[in-house]
Amino acid sequence: MTEKLTISGPADLIAIVPHLLGNRPKESFVVLTARRNTLGATLRMDAPAAAAPLDYAQMMTTYAANDEKATASYVILYTDETGGDGPFPYAEHVAALSIELATARMPVRQVLLVTSAHWGTYGTAERNPLDAIKDSQANATLTYFGSATDIDVYNPALLGRWALPVEAPEGTDEDLEMACLTWQAVLDADGTPDTETARALAAAFQHRHLRDYLFRDTITTHNGSFGDVLTGKFTGRPNWARVDRAEAIAFELMKVVPAGQRAPMLSLMGWLEWLKGHGSQADRYLKLAAEDVSGFRLAVLLRELINNGHIADVARNENMSYNRRLI
């Protein structure tokens, strides 16, 4: 595309964050790396609960340093905290982050504060209305060209209240071959699978061994190693359209089974969101999986990995990572 999006001020900068991340940050720190007059990576982390300022700042800077071309950065703090004894919230963390980013040769150009009532330059009395962000040129342009934030494949209202349970196959080599072939055919086709096919796939997902292979084969650029696939190390850029489709199909499979059998598909959706760099959305799906089947092991383990701040390898690499639909 040749459309040009110009960031002419802080309202534009704040406006593009949800378009880049796919969600509207709350109680978060966001760092945007910059290269001359363009932006590089956007990172969001939960505001520190108990993390020491230096530890927190070093972790965030390590993530930002994945952008090797960055020469500067912006910091946006989203919070309704008032700052306790000090005049500004998370003052020590902001100071530590500014020092660490400067040390990493990404000096901070501006720190902004966004609350649920206003926004302004951090450390000042500036108070601007939030409408200025919504009405910004950047938001209008991105929205006009079809970028949408907060897209969610999962809609519980569409799941229905009752469906017959499926029975997991035994897990023979023939079962595995059949499940993988069916999964591939469904992902390569258009539209949604018929009920019989959907139930056969949903049944295969109930078997842990078969499920692992279906997870792996969702990505076509894998080297065969489950360890590499799970952590997002691929041999080439994934076919992200296929990944989007896999998420949509996973939701379709959830419709043909009752509650208590949806956890494997929710786990797939969570894992795929994590590969895309959407840790928050991934965490949400995996939490739902662990609620659908109490303590569902794969979801619990993936959640633990994600909540330890792991970023999938593929999401760190700007040439391999998921492209949100922007102009």
């Binding site: 363009t38 990576a41 956007t42 939960d46 760099g277 965490d283 383990l301 909540n307 701040g309 102009i327």
Partner: protein
């Protein structure tokens, strides 16, 4: 003299064993502090930001 090992039924992996879960458990042995999930996005050059 080498030892002869008998593979009993208990030694065999379960038919529905999950390699993915085993790998994740190993990975988590060296996990650091809890920070919460991280979101990452990349601007593309053609975005002209």
């Amino acid at each position: 003299m080498g030892h002869g090992y008998i593979l009993t039924e208990d030694d065999q992996p379960a038919a529905d064993a999950s390699l993915a879960e085993d790998i994740l458990e190993l990975q988590l042995l060296t996990a650091g502090d809890k920070t919460g999930p991280v979101d990452v996005g990349h601007a593309r050059e053609h975005h002209n930001f």
